[in-house]
């Protein structure tokens, strides 16, 4: 009766905005995918194979309830004793005994020993109810966990009675409004070995632990959640030193804030290629390249720049230890040790093979939450990619979303094989990133030179140039690469090309000089010719003048002679008339 009314209320409520009442489990991520936690006052089945974390889920649900949500809890365990359980969770930082002492938690270990028990005639499990009721009353419990109630099937020989009692138990839990987690072993074909899901239809969570390529991953799936929307995917989860955590795929929504702020890459020339301003804050940058192409150096520059401007950077290294990186980077003039000392640079190095993929990303999550950096560098992510590519894709997407959501700029380096199949991998990841910087080795003329170009950079007019990437004692410099006849010259080839150019220029100049000399010689020749002609001309002129003069002199002389002769003859007037 009570149930029916509750259900109708739920249906009505789910149409309106406020949904089914939920109790937060306190388990990181779980409350996000279920939209608030477990259904309040109802039983939830958590099923899965051995070692998948059922008990841990139940324990954390109770402990978080007691410590964080003020809801005392009862743990009824059928497999492990209270001491065993408290010891198990102690390693996760939970002090069960103190909760028990404070009356926030009640542990009851139900020991079932079939060999001790003889059955004669009819019986029921009223003792279980008495115990549960006593436990609930003694701490005022709001939460109950039954870890693994199915164990009773091995202890008693009357399945019909047991089923009836289990049905009664779930009814009892509901009637008492207890938010309950019931763990159950996975069956061959069914969710639970004894079909408990038949009795509990409100919420079923399936846990899974599988091993792929020697790497184990844990998955969680909400099989059903009556009266509530929930994520239906398989979510990876982890059990680490902080307890249970589920990694929700936050990218269900793609709506993180974006920033117009720019941050420098720490390499001036690279900033120049990115509109002179650098990366967008909160964007993701992929630096890919073959081994030894300088990926880590680019990353170190970025870290250096971030710390220099007084911001925090988290550097996660999968290949080199902290000491090794700082030493190596000193050779290119980057002193990272000072920032580590100042607490601006969080440097964490661990082996990629140390954990599965989820664990790595969860650790990064934890570190980010703890350290609150503005920049996260993962160097390199390639080592994580040994696993299934799809998984890596999904995981990276989660990580990027997580970082973007917090406006953290992320730089990943990735190792690519020379023209290998890995190009595909690059594409897989690169579609997730905003800026992709490619470092490439060019092997020409017996040397290997580094080149850098910006393959893509969303939202900015980035340079399309291929620049030569030079590591010097003062860090990275990008030289404008020599581009001639469609080829990029780098290193000595560039020097040779430059020398060739110089020689060419010199030769041209020499030719010109020769021409000039030749011309001037010709000019002088012509000029002398002109002079000769001129002198010829002038000599002709003077000859003519002389002849003219001679002629006039002769005429004068003739006239004089005639006059003389006339004088001598004595005739004058006739001549005078003639002359006028």
């Amino acid at each position: 009766m009570a149930r029916a009314s509750k259900r109708t209320k739920t249906v009505a409520a789910s149409r309106a905005f406020p949904q089914l009442k939920k109790s937060p489990s306190g388990i990181a991520g779980f409350d996000e995918i279920t939209g608030g936690g477990l259904p309040t006052g109802r039983p939830t089945i958590v099923c899965g194979g051995p070692g998948c974390g059922k008990t841990m889920f139940a324990m954390e649900f109770l402990i978080r309830g007691a410590t964080e949500f003020g809801e005392p809890g009862v743990l009824m365990t059928f497999e492990e004793t209270g001491e065993e359980i408290s010891r198990n969770v102690e390693s996760l930082g939970f002090n069960v005994q103190s909760l028990v002492d404070k009356k926030k938690l009640f542990l009851d270990y139900v020991r079932i020993e079939p060999s001790e028990i003889q059955e004669t005639g009819e019986y029921d499990l009223e003792g279980l109810f008495v115990r549960l009721e006593h436990a609930v009353e003694s701490v005022g419990a709001k939460r109950v966990a039954l870890d693994t109630v199915e164990a009773i099937f091995s202890g008693f020989g009357n399945p019909g009675m047991l089923r009836a009692e289990i049905r009664r138990l779930f009814r009892w839990l509901k009637d008492h409004g207890l938010t309950t987690v019931i763990t159950a072993e996975r069956g061959e074909r069914t969710l639970t070995r004894y079909g408990l899901e038949e009795y509990v239809s409100d919420c079923v969570v399936s846990l899974d632990h599988r091993v792929n390529d020697q790497i184990s991953t844990r998955r969680m799936r909400i099989v059903k959640y009556r009266g509530s929307s929930h994520g239906t995917d398989e979510y990876p989860f982890l059990i680490d030193k902080k307890g249970f955590s589920v990694l929700p795929l936050s990218s269900i929504r793609l709506d993180h804030k974006v920033s117009k702020d720019r941050i420098s890459s720490g390499i001036e020339d690279l900033d120049t290629m990115l509109e002179g301003l650098g990366f967008f804050r909160g964007s993701s940058i992929l630096v890919s390249g073959t081994s030894g192409s300088g990926k880590s150096t680019v990353a170190a520059h970025f870290a250096d720049e971030t710390c220099r401007s007084g911001k925090r950077a988290l550097y996660i290294a999968f290949e080199e230890s902290s000491a090794q990186v700082t030493r190596n980077m000193r050779s290119v003039g980057i002193n990272l040790a000072q920032y580590i000392k100042k607490g601006l640079l969080g440097f964490h190095a661990w082996r990629p093979s140390q954990h599965g993929l989820e664990m790595h990303l969860l650790r990064i999550h934890d570190l980010v939450d703890e350290f609150k950096p503005q920049v996260v560098i993962v160097d390199p992510i390639t080592n994580l990619i040994s696993a299934n590519l799809n998984e890596v894709h999904a995981m990276l997407m989660r990580l990027l979303d997580f970082l973007k959501d917090r406006q953290i700029t992320a730089m990943f380096t990735t190792l690519t094989a020379n023209r290998g199949a890995e190009e595909q991998t690059e594409v897989g990841i690169s579609s997730l990133t905003d800026t992709w910087i490619l470092l490439r080795d060019l092997e020409v003329n017996g040397e290997r030179n580094r080149c850098l170009y910006v393959l893509k950079s969303r939202g900015m007019a980035h340079s399309n140039q291929i620049r030569e990437f030079v590591l010097s004692r003062n860090g990275v410099r990008l030289l404008p690469a020599y581009v001639g006849s469609g080829t990029v010259y780098t290193g000595s080839a560039r020097l040779a090309q430059e020398a060739r150019e110089k020689a060419e220029a010199l030769r041209e100049q020499q030719q010109l000089e020769e021409k000039r000399k030749e011309f001037s010689a010709r000019r002088s020749a012509l000029e002398s010719q002109i002079a000769a002609l001129r002198s010829e001309l002038s000599s002709g002129e003077s000859e003519f003048a002389r002849l003219t003069r001679q002629r006039s002199e002769r005429q004068q002389r003739l006239a004089l002679d005639r006059e003389e002769m006339g004088k001598i003859r004595g005739v004058t007037p006739a001549n005078e008339v003639l002359n006028s």
Partner: protein, 113 residues
């Protein structure tokens, strides 16, 4: 001890010279006056009279009144008859309608022919 309702049957006399000389310490756990519990108690009394004269002590424990004992004594099924002594502990669940099984469960040989 901690039981509320004690129906102790102190041994009337020392038992006859038998190996099953030891006094059985029995407890019957019930939860209220349910039909099953009443039947079990009736059956148990009969068995004790017929087969265990003077060799037993019986306590009837009502868990409704002392729920704590259910946890302490690991009781799940109701009714449960527990033989605490001699060691090891033995448990017989049900309404004790099958006398032979009860005796086997208590590890006592029938004295009545």
């Amino acid at each position: 001890m901690r039981s509320s309702k004690v129906k102790a049957k102190p041994p009337k006399a020392q038992a006859t010279g038998n190996a099953t000389d030891v006094v059985l310490e029995l407890r019957l756990y019930v939860a209220g006056q349910t039909p099953k519990s009443l039947i079990a108690l009736k059956n148990l009394k009969k068995i004790c009279e017929e087969h265990l004269q003077g060799r037993y002590r019986l306590h009837v424990i009502d868990l409704v009144k002392t729920p704590q004992l259910a946890q302490d004594d690991q009781i799940l099924a109701i009714p449960t008859l527990v033989r605490n002594l001699p060691q090891p502990i033995r448990k017989i669940i049900g309404d004790l309608s099958d006398t032979q099984r009860v005796l086997v469960g208590l590890d006592v040989r029938s004295q009545a022919k």
